[in-house]
Subunit: 191 residues, 2 copies
DNA sequence: TTCATTTGATAACAAATGTTATCGTTTGTC
DNA sequence: GACAAACGATAACATTTGTTATCAAATGAA
């Protein structure tokens, strides 16, 4: 699982092995809750196989914030970073193989990494990138119609459309399942 | 202008003066364009007095992204960081007094600051905070009605409601000016 | 296989929001 | 002060989107 990342980190063999040694492998069925609403997030997950959804309970209604697939890392980021009770639920969509690391161990790794200029700058770039991604997603909500957002999703994140049940996609796009159905049928007509 | 920030930065008197010396003061009338669409952002502004709006031209329609007031720093962040042509326009709303610094000078300052652990961590925290703010703004678009978003705006950013013309607020909330008018009149009725 | 559950499509109707047009008020400029 | 431009409210109508209900197809568990 971790070999593919090995050459991306200028670390000694010992450090690398120490860091990797903090990860634990688990296999879980579909619809497994990895983090409950109100819980304080203490684990960061990396997906070896499968698919995870992060969502919010908004007055009983599903509000999907993000989907994650193979090789991505997942946490309820605000809860994980600041030890808040998580407003988000993290759960698997498909049966999944995951690796997790405890926050305490990751914090130590991050502190150490910050002293390596190359990795420190990478961390900062990552944070910038994340902000840009959010900005982009955010603006598509203001400027694009739901139909346009759905088309962008097909273009830019085909994995989501292919692997995720449609009602989760509707909740991700911020529209009702009925409306998403209408959009799809209209797209078919215009072909 | 800068004295108020002096004690927040553990810098020698020389460094401090060197950094502050890179800033230039200007006074501009209302509706001055500070950065045009398509231009590459090379200046970061700090507002001494006045109010700035960052907006996008979406097929001829105003899409306001953010408002800035006294003591805040402003740039078309993605253009400034990555030297892209800016999709955003930066312009004053009120007559303003501004300080600007050239990107080349700021880059040097940031590189130097990264070597000071305290300031480096502050930079990283800032980036996290910015991401959280975007997440929050983003979710309010999915989960709240325009009326609720307007009420939150009054609560959380009263400055905007007080100082900014209403059609810019509508464009910031992602609704038509007519709809914002309706929301306001409905709120008055229910009092 | 069989049955229950999940998923997705569709119709009918209701509510929210946008568009266009008009008018009065405020603001800024000369 | 006088005029033009900007701003904001409102009405009438069109469009988009949500809600509820129903049904069919796909999926999963026994």
């Amino acid at each position: 699982m971790f070999e593919q990342f090995r050459n991306k980190f200028p670390l000694s063999e010992e450090k690398w092995n120490e860091y990797v040694g903090h990860f634990n492998r688990i296999e879980v069925p579909a619809k497994t809750t990895l983090l409950e609403e109100g819980e304080i997030s203490k684990k960061l997950f990396i997906i070896e196989k499968g698919c995870i959804r992060v969502w919010f309970n908004n007055n009983g209604k599903d509000l999907t914030s993000q989907f994650f697939f193979e090789n991505q890392s997942v946490a309820s980021i605000e809860s994980f970073m600041k030890k808040f009770p998580s407003p988000a639920v993290v759960e698997t969509i498909e049966p999944s193989v995951l690796w997790w690391i405890h926050k305490e161990n990751l914090d130590i790794i991050i502190e150490e990494i910050k002293e390596i200029p190359e990795l420190r700058d990478r961390l900062i770039d990552m944070l910038f990138q994340r902000t840009f991604d959010y900005m982009k997603h955010f603006f598509s909500f203001i400027k694009d119609s739901p139909a346009q957002r759905y088309l962008s999703l097909i273009q830019e994140k085909p994995q989501i459309v292919q692997r995720v049940p449609q009602h989760y996609i509707a909740s991700y796009l911020g529209i009702s399942t009925v409306h998403l159905s209408r959009i799809k049928s209209k797209l078919l007509q215009n072909k």
